[in-house]
Structure formats: structure tokens, C-alpha cells
Symmetry: C2
Subunit: 333 residues, 2 copies
């Protein structure tokens, strides 16, 4: 598959242009473009520019309101309830990231729940921005149904990512970012395209039985990482991101890909902590000590290391995208 | 193995008496007794009365200060830093649970970090108390080293439990409580005692290689639930419970069992959220909807169900403990 290499700036401009031409306000388009290109640069292509044609189609059909203005519906001293207003998720998460640092500085901890939201991409992106400001960030998001409750056979929960970021003195933030399915559904799709079996333990068929047939898996559900324990975490994330925010559950949410139907209306929950308050100023030294102890063992790498390597290369050399995607985006933009 | 059945009240009194006779203040002893007997009643015997002889020995040797008075070292509007003062963990967690509800009611979210702490038992116990007050609770704790960083061979992290509880209208709180090792280390000990192999995937030997030999496993490390993804969560909990609070890391902490050496000095981090603020009052109905959708599938049970069944039976019939443990406790008390 032939690829085209373009600079990050050109990719952001192209992505912005594509959305603006599909019924999206310039500042919203820019917010989405920044996040998608950041994911692309980090090697997280599943949350990168490959999403853009579907995003543009959803803005064009009105399933996503490209002109939505996210608003703070309610607030307490350290809490925000944010309405993403059926727009893209990124402007609503930008609002949370803009408001939370002042609240966390005053209160020690603060949180924002977001409803009427959409795909929030690379979960770590949002908390990494908080960590760049010296805060610890945690985010939980739900997504359209893909995982069954443990013991069941029908998808109810999304793959429900958790991301965590912590500031490091003299180094980029530590970012932990994981979806709670054992493997990404995309891997099953690739196996189905190739006609290859998948390993047992990845997925269940529509009857809740383990399967190695990727087609049966696509009609069934994904197995959570950590099996029964992971299923409990999936439920916890569904409660924080959706029951707590008032957003749609995974089983109520429409697709993040199709341009048809109602908005998915999923939710996100973001927590920001000021480590200075809780640690008495010791946090930076303590985290450094932990990381040194980890890296003293041969074979150990920090979470997020590959992401930073990919990012450095993308900043120097730009990103490589499939020629077909590039052509499609040029056509759309 | 012959067992003795005693009432919960008699068990609490006995446990209190054992600790008071081993250099522990009455109110601290009572706090520990309540938690250990609650774990015993819930069928969580690994965090129940079996711990009491080791607790008493640690209080007697001074490794745990039974007369410690936990204090709030620092506070912000929604944040507490609590010094467990090398005492038992439970009085410090009681202090957090006493202070957090008012902060969460005012701020929407509040948190307490605890350092100089000890084994905090059944993690769900602490957040269940918050949920009984209408709050969502989250707690993270670290523990002495048992899990290696992913790719490594030496234990650095504890099994690092996460617990979550949410209030339910007309039903006991939903409690999710999991340690992050794939299986409890106690299961490996049982296999070693019986001379039976353990399944591959539970543990690594001292060289970081998978092993089915329980003795090699006990000299090695436990595998995290969810493998590499779980290892990232283990690190996240270590950062929240220890780096953030200023507590000892798992690899710095002494045993929770031996009466020798320095205090373990581990940490806990507790978050309390007011669902009313974030959900605009919709939380109870939304959680009910989610639980109904889960239970509509054959074969699905809620997390914590077995615990509630065991508790109801213990309340009616008392708890059954091994005769040898009962004799030991009577001797100590």
C-alpha cells in the first residue's frame, strides 16, 4: 500500500479544511484536527486521520453538530457538568481542560462530567495536556457496545478506555492509556479481511461462547482484558462516564462511524489532581524514584514510550498516511 | 478441619480484646475489629480474622503503633493529606470517611491521601461506607512488592487493589473490589502446600519466566490481571497510592505479616463524588437502567453478589472460623 508523507502542520490544516467544508465551525474543526493529528503522530492510527471521512460525513448529515458550543450546565466548587451539545467530543474536553486547572489548584482535586458527547479519540491526549500543566489527570470514557457483562452474551458496554497522566520533572508526562477490551476490535476486522483465525480468548460469538472465527467474533462481543476482573472495571467506567454524567450507555449509543441515526451521546469523566497538595511537594522526587527502580530492570519500558518515539519521528519527518486516504481527504477538503 | 461458629458481635468483641491486650487503644482496636469481621462476614477470609494474630504481634512489637492517632496534615478545599502515623490503616481510613462527605457535598468531589499506613483489608469496605451515604467512592491502595514491572523479573509493585462503590436506590451499594494480580498469592501458597502445579499465566519465576511450579512462583512474582494492560494499571495505582501520598512504594514496604522491622508505611488514596452534582439528579435512575439491562441477560450476576449473600448468612448464623484460629484468638484475648 503506497503512502504519502505530509507534515503535521499540513495534516492539521487539511483536517481542519475537510471539516469546515462539512458544516463545522472553524474553531471546532481545529480542535478535532489537533487531536486526530496528535493521535496519528503518536502512531495511534485508529484514532487518527482514518476517522476523518466518517467525522465529515456525520457533520454533513447533522448526526454531529459541527457548530455546537459546549457549555457548563452546572458547577460546584470542584465540579463541572459539561454539555457537549451533540458536537464533536474534543471541544467539550477542551472546555474541561481549560476550566479544571484553576479548580484543582484551589481545591486539590476537581472533575468534569461530559454528556451528549462523541468519540474522544486517544484518551491519553486529554490527560497529557493536564499533566503538562503539572496536574495528574484521569479520564474515563464509554463507547458503543462491544463487550458483554461477564457471563452474558450480548454487548452492553463499550471498550471503555481509561487514561492516566502524571507530570515528570525534566521529562514528558507519563501517560497510561488503555481500552478495556483484551485486543482492539480492529484486529478482529483485519483477521476477518484476511480470512485468518483469531486466538482464543479475544472474542465471544453471539451466543457468548469463545470463538476463533473472526466473522463470528464480529457478530459477538470482545473479551475484556483481565476477564472477570476486567469486566468489573468496564462496568465501573460505564458508570463513571455514562451513569454519573447522564450520558447514553454503550447499548444506547449509535455508531461512531455511520452518518445515520441519532447522535451517539456517550460521556466522559475527567479528574484533575494537584499533586503538591496531596504529597506535600514530594511527588516529583517520588515518581522519579519509582521510574528509576522500574528502568533498573532489564527489559522494562515505561508505558507510552513507543508513542513518544513515534511522535518525535512525526515531528521531524511528518506522518505517513495511505495514498487512498490522502486522496480522499484532498477530495473532501 | 473443624470449625467454630460465632456471632458477629462476639467476633468483634474478641478481636477488639485481642488487640487491646497487645498494646492497642480501645477505639483503634474497635475500628480494626469492625473491618476484619466485616471481611470475614463477606467471605473475604484473606482480609478477615486470620490476619489478627499477625496484627496483634505487630502491635506488641511496636511495628504498628496501636495508640497512633491519625491526623490531617494538610488540607485544601476538597483535599486532605492524612498521616496514619504508623498505626493500623483502618482508623486513618475512618478519618477520611468522616471528613470526605462534607467536602464532597460542598465541592462535588473530594479526595484524601493517606501515608504511613498499613494493610487496609477489604478495599471495598471503605468505599461501601461512602456509598451508604449517597456518594460514589473510589479507593486505590498499594501493598508490599509482589508484581514486576512488565518485561521485568523483580517484584516492585503490590497487588494494588482498586475498589469502587456506588449508591443504589432501594438496594445495597454496588461494590466492585479487585486486586490487580491475576489470582491471589494465597492460591499459590495453597498449591505449594499441596504439592500441586499452578496453571501457566498465574506467576513468573525469579527470572521473570512463566512457571507452573508454585515454589518457583513464590520466589518470583505474580502476573497482573490483563497482562501488559493490567501492569500499567498496577503502576497507576502505585503512583496514586504511594507517589502521590508520599507513602512507601511496594518495593520499600515491609511485610504486612511479620512483626519485625520497620512499619510498612504504604499508602491509600480515596476519592468521594457526589453523583447529584454531576448527573443533575439522574444518577439513581441511570444506574438502575444499566443494572436492569445487565441482569436481563441469562448468566449475568452483579459484582459483589456473593459477598452480600455471605453477609446475610453471617448476620443470621454468625461466622465459621477454624477451631485452631478460634483457640489462638481466645488465647491472645
Amino acid at each position: 500500500m503506497s503512502e504519502v508523507r505530509i507534515s503535521l502542520e499540513a495534516a492539521r490544516d487539511l483536517a481542519t479544511r475537510v471539516l469546515v467544508r462539512h458544516r463545522t465551525a472553524e474553531h471546532n474543526a481545529r480542535s478535532v484536527a489537533l487531536a486526530l493529528v496528535a493521535a496519528e503522530a503518536d502512531g495511534q492510527k485508529g484514532h487518527g486521520l482514518s476517522r476523518l471521512p466518517a467525522y465529515a460525513a456525520q457533520a454533513a448529515s447533522g448526526k454531529v453538530d459541527g457548530f455546537a458550543v459546549p457549555t457548563v450546565m452546572a458547577r460546584a466548587l470542584a465540579a463541572l457538568r459539561i454539555d457537549a451539545a451533540a458536537g464533536f467530543a474534543f471541544p467539550a474536553l477542551d472546555l474541561a481542560r481549560t476550566e479544571l486547572p484553576a479548580l484543582a489548584a484551589r481545591s486539590g482535586i476537581a472533575a468534569a462530567g461530559i454528556l451528549h458527547s462523541h468519540h474522544f479519540g486517544q484518551a491519553g491526549y486529554h490527560v497529557e495536556r493536564l499533566a503538562e500543566l503539572g496536574l495528574i489527570g484521569l479520564v474515563f470514557g464509554n463507547s458503543p457496545k462491544a463487550i458483554a457483562p461477564w457471563g452474558g452474551s450480548q454487548g452492553l458496554f463499550g471498550t471503555n478506555p481509561i487514561a492516566f497522566a502524571a507530570p515528570r520533572r525534566g521529562a514528558p508526562p507519563l501517560v497510561i492509556d488503555l481500552s478495556l477490551s483484551k485486543v482492539a476490535r480492529g484486529k478482529v476486522m483485519v483477521a476477518a479481511d484476511r480470512g485468518e483465525p483469531i486466538p482464543e480468548g479475544w472474542a465471544l460469538d453471539a451466543h457468548g461462547q469463545p470463538t476463533t472465527d473472526p466473522k463470528a467474533a464480529l457478530e459477538g462481543t470482545m473479551v475484556p482484558m483481565g476477564d472477570a476482573k476486567g469486566a468489573a472495571l468496564v462496568m465501573m467506567v460505564e458508570i463513571l462516564a455514562a451513569a454519573l454524567t447522564g450520558a447514553n450507555f454503550g447499548f444506547e449509543a449509535s455508531s461512531f462511524f455511520s452518518a445515520d441515526g441519532q447522535p451517539p451521546g456517550v460521556g466522559q469523566f475527567v479528574i484533575a489532581l494537584d499533586p503538591a497538595v496531596f504529597s506535600g511537594g514530594a511527588f516529583d522526587d517520588r515518581l522519579k524514584r519509582l521510574i528509576e527502580a522500574m528502568l533498573a530492570q532489564p527489559g522494562v519500558r515505561l508505558p507510552g514510550g513507543r508513542r513518544l518515539t513515534a511522535r518525535a519521528r512525526a515531528e521531524a519527518e511528518g506522518i505517513a498516511i495511505p495514498e487512498a486516504l490522502n486522496d480522499a481527504l484532498l477530495g473532501l477538503g
